[in-house]
Amino acid sequence: MGKPLPEGAKRILDGLNFAHIATLMPNGSPQVSPVWVYRHGDHVMISTGVDRQKTRNLERDPRVAISIAPVDQPFPPLQIRGRVVEIIRGEDAVDGFVEVSKKYGNPNPQRPPAAERVVYKIEALSVVSPQT
């Protein structure tokens, strides 16, 4: 079962911070990339392109880890281990792209082709974060 996110985790996820998402390569070795992130309730949402290494990795193995160190106050950081519980495609994935683009400062993002986008909904299994 996923864990509720502490207020400090929600604050950092809602801030204009980049997240670093770790996934697993076919041979089990780790891969990590910086991404935009947004939040729906207690779920971490990652919007990305369908042609990325992390996308291929997440389709095969849903286990992820995420860290965020806010630029203005990097420590204590947010660290999450979790798993993808839903893969969102099509126009719903484009909606996710629009939502995260607006969050990061583009008020009128152009809608990309639905076939190019995917959103991963991630539940937290372990959270280390500031409490507030």
Binding site: A22, S29, P30, Q31, S33, P34, A69, P74, R81
Partner: protein
Amino acid sequence: MAELPEAARQLIDEPNLAHFVTLMPDGSPQITPVWVDHDGTHVLINTAEGRQKPRNLRRDPRVALTVVDRANAYRYVQIRGRVVDMVHEGAWDHINKLARKYMGPEARYPGSQSETRVIVKVLPEHVQVSGPPRG
């Protein structure tokens, strides 16, 4: 042995954090923001015995890390590699060197002196630099 590309060394020379991934006993990833250094060939991380990271690294040396420009998040390097050595000798001097880099020229590492610090040497096997070069 692969040299670190100049663009990667630049990013690491600046006081940018790394996000460092190790593998848990069940093979799932674990990630933490860390101070980072290099010796021209290896990426150097400094951690303390007793933490999850060194336990993970002794079981499985495969790691990944990103280093992002703190002023421009679109300039970053992604590295995959493996740990080739973990050394205690000089590790306290090294963490104090990192404290000066990240906290200021007079800084010392604020953690407990009772910690056994360890330098983790990562041999990069796959390096990808993104974003505009600087300078």
